[in-house]
Symmetry: D2
Subunit: 342 residues, 4 copies
């Protein structure tokens, strides 16, 4: 019997609508490197949905590549990014940001969310040319641990950035989930209005791969395509991202898929509540972190694929359950039932 | 009326067999980052076809990314690559190799092919710690301008590498074309036996994207996955490359597609011969470089998409015509006829 | 009236013996780049004093340059250094280590000294290719805040390095002070026996500039001069460091100067004890960190040059007083008296 | 018997006036890192002599360090420098420019001097984001092979830079020699007026070490001290360069020393003319390149220290003779006589 799959949100290929679009356009001839009509139309559509007619939009192959290209385009050699301890660039990119020459400074956070006070403390501590110069605040929406910045939290970060001449960069690997969860207060237009640059994640929401980088600050536009190529991030068949983002966004399916992921996660959360299973961190997005006894975790592991997340204490662990556009209601209900029966 | 498309070999999506394989496997659940069964099976298949049971095989997202990751894995900071003036890493990667810290030294070439004497001259000129230390010979098979190293030429380069402690790295962006052209003498097994590392290009021969890096020298295996991630080259849905290379290689279609590309180019070459149109460089692979008068080039450009390649003299230019798995015989014959009618 | 100078240990030129040696040898003709007889003899002398006949010794221009060259020689691109939060490479090198591509990971420390448990926690947290690979433990002896590792503490770090395949690198910017302070238990030979590489600081102990890098681990010797040149750290008149280190070490004056610095600091510590002035951190080396009220600090600042170090609480600050070979007993006693009179 | 020393211009310590200044100021207390009064006064003096009241002046430790810091401050990651084949950054810096991420493009030259046409050819060849973007023209005055740009040649390079949005950077490792040679037409003020940045070399003209970077283009001033520190080029005792440049420049001795070097080279040139010994390249600066038979070179080598420069043909070699402030008229005359007697 196959296990239920809650390991991650990149465990399948693409949403069928996306695959259909690839198939439909497969034999069309286009020029390469993202200058084709599909890519240009996708960029237009994204500008429109962001309410940013002058934003630059570039298609990136993946999250780490997007982050390292953007930050190395935005920073001079002695400048640094500020991030939460749990930030993807701090931990899970094998030093890609440092590999492009830049230090990542840790700011105080709450529930994975960078705090304005944390940013200010970093700025205050870096006073002269013997230290790096903090220049970009990196956050992800939602965070690595599934929490979501409210609109007012984002505005507070924007204010602290403005006060100190910092750029605000938002990693949107799971942006769809943040925009459609029950606690969402910041819209896509808010994100575009508040960030200097951000990306709309495709890999984890229905595309084969691909992230759409949106650079709203015109001072950061210059020669970005040179940076993409210099860092090995430019696909010959750049049209693929264009075709896929068009398919995902032209009828707003992208948001529907993300909402579906959140709702299947809600089914899990409801089951856990009924079963009295606590969470390591409360989330409304597509990642859920139940705390189980080691015996419960082992028992569940025989029926379900998931990741071990953290050791809580001698007796307890936290696991990570992830839903996606590909998670069925049936599977979510089956898992909820399994948890209730632990 | 649509123009005939001879602009490049990455102007469409994937070969239908590849797209079918992606569709068929689309909803299978796998782990990420290239550790899934498809990727492992593709690696096994490639090892088998290369006759290298101990080679390391890694799936890369594109050519520039593959080259920069391999060279920065193989070189220490003061070490350099040697390449032909026309080499892709010299000209068309926006300084990606230098961006990872390494100088590219130019060796003398003939018809785009690095000469052993050229390598030796570079080695002799670099004598002490005030100069970079040459460490890798970079060639591509076929070269940027469509020429092909014979087996004896490759053996001569291997010998000069052995004599001077150099590694031999082969960029195989269009490797299929070289292996199946009329003048081919080096087989895939020869390539694997002679190179320390090389890649089998997928982007330009039927895949959506993806290149299979084959590292035959065990001294270069260590921690290559760390390097891929550090440089932003690791896809979450790594399985995609696995699925696509399996589809292309399990019944040797990959070679059939490349042969088809060469044969459609032969149709062009035959037409040119009949028309008395000369070539900038004689090729047997999927790139053809006719020399036309400026008026002829302009006339042809109204019916055919191609790239301007070089100014030959006041009156003449060379254009580049590229064929692929997607080029029909009908289109090749139509273009041949157009050239004969110029 | 001139203020008493306790701002740093690089506020004057060189010890007169060093300047004499430079003057005496000034018109001798030598070859360049550190291959002259003075440099070779200095290297021999250092090997002898370290009890390491096979160590490689290289003259470096300064501390940051020495650290960045050594770490970028020792690490592959995805490998990282481990250091204390207060480590010089973490804070005061403007991201030079990251600038050469490497992450610096923070390990738990006590009094600025990296703890074996801290190293192990970092190693345990870095498990796969999505994270950097910890490879070097960076410590300084004494630490940035003037504390000293005991021989048994160094041995414990060596043991944890051996257990996890880590290199131990010791920044000896003020090594003389650590070797000659009242709590010293590790000798120069111990340092050489325990570290894979370390440097003997000249800038802060009597030389105009210059640090002697000692690489005891033969696996790290290869092509280090290429690395020095590649990073801009090779002086044309390399002999200068050779001449200066010879002058400092041939009759062990180097240690006498460091002892003198510690003893003048002892005078300050004694005065503080009599005055009941506490220390931010207890030291026996040439840096002293008295805690003063803000009014006391301001009053003292009118007579003495020193650095503000930290805000302790609303009412108190810690300042930093630094002594050197150039600090007179008279000045130390004068400052002690001023502190007693606060 | 000691050999005559004509190996290089960095074979001794410092000019006695410089050493005196170091000795005289040795015990003065100053702050560190080049913010002391000596350094500030030296910077003022340099601004005055350059006729550039708003230039930024920074003290650098050596030529390679100066070049790599300046170019990595001025260039974005995908931007490249243009230089002559014989340029120091192309050949003799162990890939330091590439090590900081930037390609060095070769422009056509005559006698080691970059030609405006050569620059334009490079610019024309780099047309899009698949190639690096040329941004800085690097020249040295005099060139690596001792030739000197005339004022009109420099103006022509400035014009081509202006036409293409390029910066002009001048490596002045031997600038004194170029400013005081018999064919000099460009003054220090001309250099300052035409370059965006350049450095006045100290190492090869009387200082222990040190080069004064003069950045005349205010758009390049920002945060240069961060760059110096980030690349390991900031000396703790930064005052040393200040003291030495003050001593060299306050009564224009710097120029007298350089003129002396040129004049002793003139003695060699006169001897060669009398003896009918040809030159590989005609120079008026402190490097002379006689062409000798192999037997002559060997005979001379028994009495004189010099560098073998190039093999001219089967029978002939070119050697390099270098003079400096430290070369005596007597030694120059002795060497001239030796050459006449060959």
């Amino acid at each position: 019997m196959n296990k239920l799959f809650f390991r991650n949100d990149y465990g399948e290929g693409a949403h069928p609508l996306v695959l259909d679009a690839l198939t439909r356009t497969n034999m069309a001839h286009t020029c390469g490197y993202g200058l084709d009509d599909y890519s240009l139309r996708a960029a237009d559509l994204i500008r429109e949905k962001c309410g940013c007619p002058h934003a630059a939009v570039h298609m990136m192959t993946g999250g780490t590549s997007a982050n390292l290209i953007a930050l190395s385009a935005f920073l001079r050699p002695y400048e640094a990014a500020i991030a939460a301890q749990t930030g993807h660039i701090c931990v899970h990119e094998t030093g890609a940001i440092e590999g492009s020459g830049h230090k990542v400074l840790i700011a105080g956070d709450r529930d994975g969310k960078v705090l304005p006070d944390g940013v200010e403390a970093v700025v205050r501590a870096h006073t002269d040319e013997h230290m790096v110069h903090p220049r970009v605040v990196y956050i992800s929406q939602p965070t690595e641990i599934g929490t979501v910045y409210s609109l007012s939290e984002l505005r507070a970060l924007r204010a602290v950035c403005d006060a100190h001449g910092l750029l605000l960069y938002i990693d949107g690997a799971r942006l769809g989930s943040a925009l459609t969860c029950s606690e969402a207060t910041a819209t896509l237009r808010d994100i575009a209005a508040l960030a200097d640059a951000f990306y709309i994640g495709g890999t984890k929401n229905g595309l084969l791969f691909g992230e759409a980088m949106v650079i709203t600050n015109p001072a950061l536009h210059k020669d970005f395509r040179f940076m993409i190529k210099n860092r090995g991030g430019m696909l010959a068949k750049g049209r693929l991202c264009g075709v896929m983002f068009l398919a995902a966004l032209e009828h707003d399916d992208y948001f529907a898929w993300a909402r579906h992921a959140n709702e299947t996660a809600d089914i899990l959360r409801a089951g856990m509540a009924r079963a009295g299973i606590g969470q390591l961190i409360a989330t409304t997005t597509n990642q859920v972190f139940p705390i189980l006894t080691r015996a419960q975790a082992q028992a569940l592991g025989e029926r379900v694929e998931f990741e071990h997340w953290a050791d809580v204490d001698e007796a307890h662990v936290a696991i990570r359950l992830v839903t996606s556009w590909a998670t069925t209601h049936a599977d979510a209900q089956a898992l909820a039932a399994l948890m209730e029966a632990l």
